[in-house]
């Protein structure tokens, strides 16, 4: 399988260390110009100059998801607004969204990172690539469009068409690569069989799964049902590139582009680095990002670093992403849903803190959605059914709008919560 940027993806260990060290110091110096980082470092009694080796990075304090909403909207930008050419909004875990900005150079980097990942999956200029992601992953949809165009593939960008229409496009436009979430792909299979379509009638040969990590058998089932080869990608909301990690043909962990990111794995309780090969929380530092640097960002992702050379030739380290997390977040159809986020929306819409609520992912006809059960007390209760229906609809609409997923509200008696 070809490699998009052989030089940068295959550096030897010594050169990689030098490159990371150079870029890390430069990234720290740039971040230090941002008042947030300057104050954050000062509170922990450090300056960028304490980092004299990659290991010294552990002397720099972490940043947490709460820092994004505290610095809403532009407080974490490291360049003047006139240098920003794109602004993305993603859901955070607080009342305010995460706003990230990109310079022209940042966009070129993201474009290349997606091109690397697609090339590793064998995508080329002979492919027609269709992006089908939920509206909550619209930022990733744009990145896939740009990256696929770099590779020279014909792109069918993200739309919000109903599944039947998506299937029609998939078949008639002879889509050969589909970018979607694992649950999105399962839904596609459901509609495919419902429409009595034979997978052989499709030109589809590659499935890129991003967002939610597929369960043990899900990938194999999808490959069998759709007659395709499936590849995993992984991304974060906060650095809205969908290809922080990507699989190569060995499919043994996801390569991380270490020329652009420095990764650490820490014990989520102590913040200390874990031993080689042990499971822990992924901590990410951006090395080349200009507009929106992240220095030791605790992602909440549970991972394990895989050691040993990959036969594909890339020297970028591989990471195994694990399904559980270190924070209060769950992933539905690739979209990240935070407990605090639901709490804030419910509080805002009700005008008071919800007395009791729960949420979960529910699957119906292979379509996954978010179900929020709200305990009804005297403040919420109305003897007019119409009022209760109106409230339920309002909450569903607001949650759906902000989270980017279909949401069902169930009003329940408080006593029925177990």
């Amino acid at each position: 399988m070809p490699i998009w940027n052989r030089r940068d993806e295959c550096y030897d260990a010594d050169e990689r260390l030098q490159q990371q060290m150079e870029r890390l110091q430069s990234a720290l110096n740039r971040a230090y110009n941002v008042p947030f980082y300057r104050n954050h470092f000062a509170r922990h009694g450090v300056e960028p100059t304490v980092v004299e080796s990659i290991e010294d990075l552990s002397r720099i304090p972490f940043i947490e998801p709460c820092h994004f909403s505290e610095n809403y909207p532009y407080g974490l930008f490291a360049v003047p607004l006139r240098d920003i050419v794109r602004i993305h909004t993603a859901r955070g875990n607080g009342p305010l969204p995460v706003v990230s900005g990109y310079t022209k150079k940042d966009l070129l980097i993201w474009r290349e990172l997606v091109a690397r990942a697609l090339t590793a999956a064998g995508v080329s200029s002979t492919d027609i690539l269709q992006v089908e992601l939920d509206p909550g992953l619209a930022n990733w949809g744009r990145d896939y469009k740009d990256g696929a165009e770099s590779v020279g593939a014909g792109v069918i960008p993200m739309t919000t068409l109903p599944p039947e229409k998506q299937l029609m496009i998939l078949k008639d436009y002879k889509t050969s690569v589909l970018v979607t979430s694992a649950s999105g792909a399962e839904q596609l299979v459901y509609h495919l069989f419902r429409a009595n379509l034979n997978p052989n009638e499709l030109a589809l040969k590659t499935l890129i799964l991003v967002g939610d990590a597929p369960g043990d058998n899900v990938r194999g089932n999808l490959e069998e049902q759709l007659h395709v080869r499936a590849w995993l990608h992984h991304g974060l909301n906060e650095v809205p590139g969908p290809t922080l990690g990507f699989e190569c043909e060995e499919r043994n962990g996801l390569h991380v582009s270490e020329d652009h990111f420095l990764i650490e794995v820490v014990n989520p309780d102590t913040g200390e680095l874990v031993k080689a090969g042990e499971e822990g929380e992924l901590v990410l530092t951006t090395l080349t990002t200009r507009a929106y640097p992240l220095i030791r960002f605790r992602t909440g992702d549970r991972v394990r670093l895989l050691h040993g050379a990959c036969p594909c030739g890339r020297t970028l380290r591989r990471v195994e992403w694990l399904p559980h997390r270190s924070d209060d977040m769950m992933v539905i159809r690739g979209v990240k849903v935070y407990h605090k986020q639901i709490f804030h929306i419910l509080t805002r819409e009700l005008g008071f803190e919800p007395p009791l609520y729960r949420f979960m992912a529910v699957k119906q006809q292979m379509m996954e959605y978010l179900e929020v059960s709200l305990g009804v007390n005297e403040s919420i209760f109305s003897d007019e059914i119409k009022e209760m229906q109106k409230l339920s609809q309002k909450l569903s609409d607001e949650l759906s709008l902000e989270i980017g997923l279909p949401v069902a509200i169930r009003l329940k008696e408080q006593g029925s919560f177990t």
Binding site: I3, R6, N29, S53, Y74, V79
Partner: protein, 258 residues
């Protein structure tokens, strides 16, 4: 970027976490950079950014440093300038530092002083011819005292003198200083020509635009720290480079932004 053709990365100069001091004052604060064989690297920044100090540290002219400076994996720590010249590093210093009363040819020969000890007389004569071919104007003024040359000619002589040591790595400190634009172009063209012959060049310049036009990559220094690095073509259009070059304080942009 298109799919690249694999090229082995061979690093000529590697600096890790370099700190340079003038007494208690730190002029360079933890700089890491690398120069690969056959590259032209531009080191740019405003006055006082630490560029010349860094070059002098490499050459052994500024011994108050710590960190790591490696030439093809050999450390330069504790070495004196003549040893460093013998290792194949030549400096074209700021202000040229020629010997004004001596003739052009004698200045050139002085550049080869470490080689005379090795009895490389025949090779030195050959190299003199090569340098004079590179700078034909010096051939015409071979017997004239260096002090009588124009600024551009003096710069050519300074580069020629450095080349007489047969360096693997050529360091230049502000070669465009005080020169008319057409002479700057001429000097930079010579550097491109040398790169074509396999020379590795680390170029310190305040004239960022000129330097980045011929460089492969660049590092931007501000207050003794690298704040940016990248391909020269990208840095050429970068706002931060302009600001760093002008020496303005970044913070006014960030704090005045809200």
């Amino acid at each position: 970027m298109e799919p690249g053709v694999f090229q082995e990365v061979r690093t000529m100069l590697r600096i890790r976490n370099l700190k340079c001091f003038y007494g208690r004052i730190r002029a360079v604060s933890g700089v890491s950079l690398s120069v690969r064989r056959g590259e032209i690297i531009a080191l740019i920044g405003a006055n006082g950014a630490g560029k010349s100090t860094l070059l002098n540290a490499i050459c052994g002219l500024h011994p108050q440093w710590n960190g790591e400076i490696l030439i093809e994996k050999q450390s330069l720590s504790g070495l004196k300038p003549p040893d460093i010249v013998k290792m194949g590093i030549s400096l074209v210093p700021e202000g040229r530092m020629l010997f004004p009363p001596l003739s052009v040819i004698d200045n050139l020969k002085l550049g080869a002083y470490v080689r005379y000890r090795k009895k490389e007389h025949r090779e030195i004569e050959g190299d003199l011819g090569t340098v004079l071919e590179l700078f034909p104007v010096l051939k015409e003024r071979m017997k004239q005292p260096a002090g009588m040359l124009s600024g551009g000619e003096q710069q050519m002589l300074a580069i020629g003198r450095a080349l007489m040591a047969r360096p693997r790595l050529l360091l230049l400190d502000e070669p465009s200083m005080g020169l008319a634009p057409f002479l700057v172009r001429l000097i930079l063209d010579v550097l491109v020509q040398l790169k074509g012959q396999g020379m590795t060049v680390l170029l310190v310049e305040q004239n960022a635009r000129a330097a980045l036009q011929i460089a492969d990559r660049g590092y931007v220094l501000e207050n003794g720290k690298v704040i940016l690095d990248g391909n020269a073509s990208e840095l050429l259009t970068d706002h931060d480079v302009k600001r760093a070059y002008l020496g303005k304080d970044y913070r006014e942009f960030y704090e005045g932004r809200a």
